[in-house]
Symmetry: C2
Subunit: 113 residues, 2 copies
């Protein structure tokens, strides 16, 4: 009856709230995925999937402007998705973390279905 349904519903709502991660965690999670949510950045990340590359190489390979690549790399670095090291005039970028590869692969799997 009505009363029982109400209680069950409230319990459901309560359990959802209990399981729901803190807003801050979810905000950070969204920020993380946002990094992968742009074609240019995805291309850059994939190009570095198993090798480090310098800015000019990335721009050349992907037919992007140096400025655009540099801007995006900065964003990716701020988000700790890539790291860099300087060698002479060049700066070599690479994926910062095995998780980045995992997330990329997992997403690609889903898309390829």
């Amino acid at each position: 009856m009505e009363k029982e349904y109400q209680e069950t519903r409230e319990e459901l709502i309560k359990s959802v709230l209990d399981r729901q991660p803190a807003d801050e965690a979810l905000y950070n999670l969204a920020e993380l995925f946002k990094m992968f949510g742009d074609s240019t950045r995805i291309k850059i990340l994939y190009a570095m999937f198993d090798t480090e590359l310098c800015v000019n190489d990335i721009a050349g390979v992907l037919h992007l402007s140096q400025s655009s690549v540099s801007h995006q790399l900065r964003i990716l670095k701020t988000s700790k998705l890539v790291k860099s090291r300087r060698e002479g005039k060049s700066v070599y970028y690479s994926l910062d973390d095995e998780h980045v590869r995992l997330i990329l692969s997992m997403g690609m799997e889903h898309v390829e279905e």
Copy 2:
């Protein structure tokens, strides 16, 4: 020497290009991640992590407007991340795919470090 380095470099570039997925696949991948790249949508998805919910419940639990939730659910449904079934006046939404849970979990793991 210069020549050898050049060849190695060119080979590297070539191998990167060989491994790089098609632009269309990368575009689709970016579109997928874009869905997870918004706080509101992430909250909605997480709320449905292990239960179906109707629009009003989601709006109530997450303190969002009915309109906003409905708009976002439509976007999520178009992207095949959620599915829905109607029961009387209510429409129940749930995650469409085990991959969605996996991607959420993988991302959360990375964030929680």
